[in-house]
Symmetry: C2
Subunit: 179 residues, 2 copies
């Protein structure tokens, strides 16, 4: 659970980071920045901030903003009925991102998992501004921002957050804000 003050502070951080990177948001978009603590209540360690530009039946695009060391925890995207799972490309705009996917584990990874017992993918891909990586459906993945935080643009098929499968059983995709 987050307090409204925490949400407001995270929105201000996000708007300022995007502005520094030259990304222009409309006033409506600034007021709708999504702050996701994923139910763990430790936003500065686990969670992320999002601006959703578009999410139709076929196409989705977002900016993901992470604080220094903040982690988007391990998950994968699965399909339903005749719809394939979500395919997403992460392109780094600012900062450094340590992305982990299924595959041979990288020795001495740069990231420290916030709750290591719930992280299983350790194949490291380091992304700096201009670098990108495509995640196919079903691939376990997670990422952590380096010491300066990060901005990641995500290009994907339709986003269906409710279908994300997180490795950590305590995670809830829907953020609850204290009444």
């Amino acid at each position: 659970m987050l307090t409204f003050a925490e949400v407001q502070e995270a929105r201000e951080y996000t708007a300022a980071a995007l502005s520094r990177a030259g990304v222009v948001l409309t006033p409506a978009e600034r007021g709708e920045i999504e702050v996701a603590d994923l139910g763990l209540g430790e936003l500065e360690r686990t969670g992320l901030q999002l601006v959703v530009y578009v999410n139709t039946e076929r196409v989705c695009a977002k900016e993901l903003v992470l604080r220094p060391g903040q982690t988007c925890p391990e998950h994968r995207h699965i399909g339903a009925d005749e719809e394939l799972g979500k395919e997403e490309t992460f392109r780094v705009r600012a900062g450094e991102v340590w992305l982990y996917v299924d595959g041979p584990a990288t020795p001495d990874p740069l990231a420290v998992a916030p709750r290591p017992e719930h992280y299983t993918a350790w194949h490291q891909i380091v992304l700096r501004p201009g670098d990108q990586h495509t995640i196919l459906p079903g691939t376990k993945h997670w990422f952590q921002a380096g010491p300066d935080g990060a901005i990641v643009t995500e290009f994907s098929t339709r986003s269906t957050d409710e279908r994300d499968v997180f490795t950590d059983p305590d995670i809830r995709r829907i953020t609850v804000v204290e009444p």
Copy 2:
């Protein structure tokens, strides 16, 4: 037809415009900037410059860069077999864009069509940084940059340029560079 010098000059213009807007390209991407004169041989009036970030079976994302007054001419995206036509969202990053789509004609439009006999869609949408508009398959559309040029990020389904239907019968999507 374009000369190699024209292509190089347009690539340099594009890389500089993106850099000013805070968009980082890799060296490989800078060398692969697509310069499209659409076969008319009057690039500064009709054509555009493109950086394709990703184009898979399901998702495509690009930066479109236009010079002051440069026009991406009228076209629509159609489907084939079981694939729907391309759906695209234009989000303006820098400059002003005058977008025209099917619909009631706007009186006194801001743009001047470069070859007016081949332009039929006159419903005007003015897009400034942070503004965006989604074009559904089959919708005729074209756009012109305002006096400072423009950068437009396009989020879309798979890009199948060869299937674009241009209103102007002299247009060819493939650019020929003088040998």
